[in-house]
């Protein structure tokens, strides 16, 4: 409950504060957001599977974000930043879909 509230608080803050993304972070923020979403859906699925662990969630969240940003950073350095970004998004999207499918099976039994 508290994390859900936190999500809304963060959304509201972002909408009302109009923060400007620093130029250096601009390529990484969208990837980091996708990775974080993946971690969140994974966490929800773990809850439904009954194997949720706070510590695992926090660590997976942070590592997802950091690794995704790092991969994009590496791609930028190698000159294949946009392609690697696409790859990361595809992989994370597949993971999110499979997690959502699992959640759906739990919740709707379908």
């Amino acid at each position: 409950m508290i994390p859900v509230l936190g999500l809304f608080v963060g959304l509201a803050a972002g909408l009302f504060l109009h923060p400007a993304v620093p130029l250096a972070l601009q390529p990484y923020l969208p990837i980091a957001v996708i990775a974080a979403l993946d971690a969140v859906f994974g966490g929800v699925r773990a809850v439904l599977d009954g194997i949720f662990d706070d510590k695992v969630f926090v660590v997976s969240f942070l590592s997802n974000v950091v690794v995704a940003a790092f991969i994009v950073f590496l791609g930028d350095q190698l000159g294949v930043g946009s392609q690697l970004s696409t790859g990361v998004v595809v992989v994370l999207g597949i993971r999110i879909f499979s997690n959502v499918a699992s959640i759906r099976r739990h919740v709707f039994r379908a």
Partner: protein, 252 residues
């Protein structure tokens, strides 16, 4: 990733409710913090994406936009060049128009002095021929005019008659007539030109002054630095002569 627990627990909603129960554990607080960060990042990114137009566009879209911008820019360039040319034309036109007006005015002044339709002033001489015995005839006066013209007089008047190119002298019964107007002695000739030149031309041996004196008349010449030829010659429209129309465009 693959789902491997076929027996779905019947209490999925209950589990969710259980998980959603507020707990004050350190990890829960951390998860809340992360959720705040996530929400913040999502909102920021969405806003950023909306506010930034070009960075998120495809290459082909960018090429199209660039093409449009280039086209617009070249069109505006062309526009600017046209307007600049028009402006230059207008500026030079107004200056050349002013120059033309000035030239025309100068021409008008010169022709006016020549035709006797304009008053003239400047340095010159005032010559008075007193003729008590009426010995000075029209040829003598015409001779005087010719001498004045030879000496460079530009505007001449005798008494109150302006001498122009078409002026004619007659010896009438009552005396000399110039252009049909009677001119009585003493004859006051006013000529505008170089005073010293005209004076010496009149006084040259065998010249006008000597001739006049031989006739028994008296002549006096005074150099003036500023005098006015105020008499005007009435302008008459030529009855027969017509200007030949210029076949080629005239230069101003």
């Amino acid at each position: 990733m693959t789902q491997t627990n076929p027996p779905p627990t019947p209490s999925a909603w209950k589990r969710l409710r259980l998980a959603a129960r507020p707990r004050t554990t350190k990890a829960n607080a951390l998860a809340a913090l992360l959720a705040i960060l996530l929400g913040f990042a999502v909102a920021t990114q969405v806003r950023q994406n909306q506010s930034l137009g070009l960075e998120s566009l495809r290459q082909s879209d960018l090429v199209t936009i660039l093409d449009n911008a280039t086209l617009l820019s070249s069109r505006l360039d062309q526009n600017a060049r046209d307007l600049q040319a028009t402006r230059d034309q207008l500026v030079s036109g107004s200056t050349s128009g002013a120059a033309a007006v000035k030239a025309a005015q100068e021409r008008l002044d010169a022709l006016g002095i020549l035709a006797g339709t304009a008053r003239a002033h400047g340095p010159g001489i005032r010559m008075t021929i007193a003729d008590p015995r009426a010995k000075v005839t029209a040829p003598v006066l015409l001779d005087a005019i010719q001498e004045l013209r030879d000496a460079g007089a530009e505007a001449i008047q005798v008494n109150n008659v302006r001498i122009v190119a078409s002026s004619h002298f007659d010896q009438g019964a009552s005396g000399i007539e110039i252009d049909g107007r009677s001119v009585l002695p003493p004859y006051m000739l006013t000529a505008i030109g170089d005073p010293a030149t005209i004076d010496s031309a009149m006084e040259i041996p065998g010249g006008l002054a000597e001739n006049v004196r031989q006739l028994g008349a008296t002549i006096s010449i005074a150099q003036e630095q500023e005098l006015t030829v105020g008499a005007l010659h009435p302008l008459s429209q030529p009855r027969y002569a017509r200007p030949v129309p210029p076949s080629a465009p005239t230069t101003p």
